[in-house]
Symmetry: C2
Subunit: 224 residues, 2 copies
């Protein structure tokens, strides 16, 4: 479902060029659960942004379900981002003036889901991450781990076919992490393709494949 | 150095009252290294904000080095916050329009340290967390773990006597986490009092004492 061919993403020019992603080729078959690991600054979030159609490579190509992403127009890209891909950001990116419920409903309004159904699905998504009682709270009225879970609920509410999660359990205690991983296992068993960035070896162990990055490159790739 | 007596912090009223911190009493002697652990939403960040003089309790009292904090005027509080306490926030709270160097210099300008010395100390603080080569980058031009390390450098640059760190390694890989913990061990050996919130049992093991919270209360407290 995912195919990156020699993808590079640089910042700056000349001596100051930073090769955030440096010639990465990667294939992820439909339904695979991949953990992306590596040192701080190794390029994981940059790669995730490219996979999520939020950033374009400096060179190389990205094929998502057989379509070359750089050839798609803005409408087609927006369609993919809103309906097919769920993205959990490393810094959550919740809208501070909206409640948890409203934040989770947002992708459904972009997908023009009618209000009744939107309210119900958002409420269920929040319940699945253990936050039914925080639906009316704004981000500043919730803990770090609660905000992270709202971001997860928001990514899952569109029922995506591809979940890109950038360190989704970084702010969660062991018990809550386990609940989220169990939820992901369940969705994976039902066909969800998952690429999950993590620094936690325990979380890495739950994936079927671990890809390791260093200095913008893939240095290890092992499947059980 | 720290004494909390029956501190409570609530939000809301009546049936909807949330007891974020619920009757917590805690004493931390000078130079102790404490890990604060507990489930998501258990009140750790709320307690840290009270300890850091960033929030006031709804009831109970907080004595910092023998002075009752609620009796202090704004100037005295600002003095303590800027010179004695280093605070690493769970969501970093870097200023997005300032570079890493400028972010780390900020507490030193509040403490009216002269420019030459400010530049030198900020540069050294960044070097100590492995980010000498990111000094001129803004937060949007750095990875999550790099931002977290800038937040740590900023907390340490004032050479505080009390470090309050809210999940300072949540976005760091194992190797980088080890570097930060080694740095904290070194500062602790030189007399720094540390209260560090973490979800990572490995990090908890580095502390001399682990205090565990649940539903706003302390439910476990063990010292090696
Ligand atoms: N402004 C607020 N209004 C209402 N409730 C709040 C507010 N701020 C925090 N809370 C609630 O207080 C409780 C404690 O929050 P706190 O941020 O201290 O938790 P935490 O232990 O740091 O959690 P985490 O590990 O997820 O960061 C949470 O249940 C949260 O929803
Ligand atoms: N806009 C930018 N300008 C310059 N350099 C950038 C920019 N954005 C990212 N970088 C650099 O690209 C590199 C990769 O960043 P990225 O966020 O992908 O790392 P990461 O693997 O996600 O790290 P972490 O584990 O700390 O989150 C970093 O060294 C970072 O400083
Ligand atoms: Mg990252
Ligand atoms: Mg917290």
């Amino acid at each position: 479902v995912i195919e990156l061919r020699d993808v590079t993403r640089t910042y700056g020019m000349g001596d100051a060029t930073i090769r955030a992603v440096d010639g990465v080729s990667l294939e992820v078959p439909d339904g695979q659960y991949v953990a992306l690991m590596g040192t701080s600054g190794s390029g994981k979030s940059t790669l995730m942004n490219i996979l999520g159609c939020l950033d374009t490579p400096t060179s190389g190509s990205y094929w998502l379900r057989g379509r070359e992403v750089s050839r798609l127009d803005d409408d087609a890209l927006a369609e993919i981002r809103n309906r097919e891909i769920g993205f959990v950001f490393q810094s959550f990116n919740l809208l501070p003036r909206l409640t948890a419920q409203q934040n989770v409903e947002l992708p459904l309004s972009y997908a023009r889901v009618p209000p009744q159904e939107r309210h119900r699905r958002a409420r269920e998504a929040l319940a699945r991450v253990g936050l039914a009682d925080r639906a009316e709270h704004r981000p500043t009225e919730m803990s770090g781990g609660q905000c992270q879970r709202v971001a997860i609920a928001r990514a899952l509410v569109v029922e995506p076919t591809l979940l890109l999660a950038d360190e989704p359990t970084g702010n969660l205690d062991t018990a809550t992490t386990e609940e989220i991983l169990a939820l992901l296992d369940e969705l994976h068993a039902n066909g969800l393709t998952i690429v999950l960035v993590t620094h936690d070896a325990e979380v890495g162990r739950r994936a079927e494949r671990v890809v390791t990055m260093r200095d913008g490159r893939i240095v290890d790739d092992r499947t059980r």
